[in-house]
């Protein structure tokens, strides 16, 4: 059984179901990419695992424990961290304050964790007293990642971490995500840049109209002719 798993998830935002019996799982130290065309329910599947929408059926477990009934806030306490696609930083706070807010629920000494984050993202140390609203897009994404890591999560969920950044910054961000993976965190990410995402992922899921269509290792999916034709544009 995988470490973090959403099994047979069906649900939507009150209206029609956006995902139907969708299953996604991830182990610690693994990166899993959720791919698919626009409107396939990629983000919805991820949000369902965080508890941002009510499921009609299906369960979500972490480390074998059923968390389907917990609120998003309580799931955060269980070690799940989420980086939304937009508005994922506090723009009116400094870089350091953003990190401090990430660890709001932790009472012990923050210095150690903050220094670990600075080691992972050296640019944040350089800009620690600057307001995040003044940083570039790539730097903001690093703040967002850093904030999410402050809780020392066992699962990190990223909603399109590279949306709207240049290709160079994208490579840099993917490198950072690989570094995070080495700290034994389970990473799930929704991505538009399918090829690049699969190249750093251990496994991938392709969703179509809210259902699992293909799944396999990054390499398998990249080489699958049908997946290539439909979703990778080649």
């Amino acid at each position: 059984m995988a470490f973090f798993e959403g099994k047979g998830m069906t649900g939507g935002y009150g209206g029609p179901d956006i995902i139907t019996s969708c299953t996604i799982n991830v182990d610690q130290g693994e990166i899993v990419a959720i791919l698919g065309p626009n409107g396939a329910g990629k983000s919805t599947a991820m949000k369902a695992m965080l508890g941002l929408l009510e499921l009609k059926s299906g369960i979500v477990t972490i480390g074998g424990k059923d968390i389907s009934k917990l609120s998003p806030q309580d799931r955060v306490k269980q070690g799940i961290s989420f980086v939304p696609q937009t508005r994922n930083v506090f723009t009116g706070l400094t870089v350091r304050e953003n990190l401090e807010m990430g660890a709001f629920l932790r009472n012990e000494d923050l210095e150690k964790i903050i220094n670990e984050i600075y080691e992972l993202f050296p640019i944040l140390n350089e800009k620690k007293s600057q307001f995040v609203g003044e940083l570039s897009g790539g730097q903001r994404q690093q703040v967002a990642l850093g904030r999410a890591l402050m809780t020392k999560p066992s699962v990190l969920m990223l909603d399109e971490p590279t949306a709207g950044v240049s290709p160079i910054v994208m490579d840099e961000l993917f490198n950072h995500i690989l570094k995070v993976k080495k700290t034994n965190v389970a990473i799930i990410m929704v991505e538009q840049n399918a090829k690049q995402a699969l190249s750093i992922s251990d496994r991938g899921y392709v969703l179509v109209t809210g259902e699992n269509k293909f799944e396999g290792s990054g390499k398998e999916l990249l080489n699958d002719p049908e997946v290539r034709r439909s979703f990778l544009g080649a």
Partner: protein, 336 residues
């Protein structure tokens, strides 16, 4: 010598009064801006909440006076402020629980909450009128002046006197202390930072585990402190008349918006911008020019741009101009 006289004239009639009036507005404006930034609505009950807090300070001051308690040269009201603050905070928390909370949980749009606050305004106003009545009340005691006009004239040998009232100095000193503590709290403490984070990005604050109920409660508590202190300082400096407090809401809102709504530091400076603008524009400059110009050019009018009766028109015009040309205010608004 005439030049110095002219400067003293301005100091006496514009600068000193505007500094103390500006401080009173600043406290109210920070109150408005905090509620807007965190609870996300324009609180039209601001003026009447200030009069509610002040009412308790007035009643307690009278009670202390009847017991023979006094602070010597300082006004007894200072002693009453902490108790009045407690009453004010209790009232605000009760109102929040009974009224605002319902609309907050329903996620009502800000306009609806603003309308709700008008209801709170009427109720608060009625309570104040029932308890203390609509009349003008004075509750100042202690030493009225720090510097009297004749003393100043004797000291310097100038024609113009400079009067400094103790309430003016008290207002400025207390405001600086209160505002410094507030900014220290918002920028340096964990709770203060979480309030700024909540104001900045509510969803992310919730994901970070910040408790919205605690943030809202602390916001009302700070608001209670600001409302009571601001109201009492105004009442000591002028007098306590509930209707005047209601009227003061216009310059207070103007100050909050000029400074960028949601930005406490902007609101603080906005208070002084509005106060100086009001007094500069409504002051009669005749005497000032008599000192500076040769006799042949002496003005035969009052040299007053606008009668003091229209001082609210000044705040209102500034409000409209800012909203038209720079809706985010002088400082970037919507950030706490």
């Amino acid at each position: 010598m005439d030049f110095i006289n002219a400067i003293i004239l301005l100091l006496n009639y514009i600068i000193v009064p505007a500094l103390s009036y500006g401080s009173q507005l600043a406290l109210g404006a920070i109150f408005v801006t905090l509620i807007y930034g965190i609870l996300r609505f324009a609180n039209f009950a601001t003026g009447d909440m200030m009069s509610f807090g002040t009412m308790f300070a007035v009643l307690l001051t009278w009670y202390f006076q009847s017991l023979g308690i006094s602070l010597g040269v300082l006004p007894t009201a200072l002693l009453a402020i902490p108790f009045a603050i407690i009453m004010m905070i209790l009232y605000m928390l009760i109102i929040d629980k009974l009224v605002f909370k319902y609309y907050r949980i329903k996620k009502s749009p800000p306009v609806q909450l603003a309308m709700v606050s008008i209801g709170v305004l009427f109720v608060t106003q009625a309570i104040v009128r029932i308890i203390i009545g609509p009349f003008d009340r004075r509750f100042f005691d202690g030493e009225r002046f720090i510097l009297k006009a004749n003393e100043f004239k004797e000291m310097t040998g100038l024609n113009e006197g400079l009067t400094i009232k103790s309430t003016q100095v008290l207002t400025i000193v207390v405001t600086i202390i209160v505002v410094s503590i507030l900014f220290w709290f918002l920028n340096k403490t964990k709770t203060g930072k979480s309030m700024r984070a909540y104001s900045d990005n509510e969803d992310l604050a919730l994901l970070s585990g910040i408790d919205p109920n605690k943030v809202v409660m602390i916001t009302w508590m700070i608001a209670g402190v600001l409302a009571t202190i601001g109201g009492v300082l105004y009442g000591l400096d002028k007098s306590f008349k509930p209707f005047v407090y209601f009227n003061n809401m216009l310059p207070i809102f103007a100050a909050a918006i000029v400074g960028g709504i949601g930005n406490p530091f902007g609101a603080f400076l906005g208070g002084y911008v509005i106060a100086f603008a009001e007094i500069f524009i409504t002051y009669a400059y005749k005497k000032f020019f008599m000192y500076l110009l040769p006799e042949s050019l002496e003005p035969d009018t009052l040299m007053q741009l606008l009668s003091t009766d229209y001082k609210f028109a000044v705040s209102f015009s500034i409000l409209v101009i800012v909203l038209l040309f720079r809706p985010t205010g002088i400082f970037k608004g919507k950030v706490l």
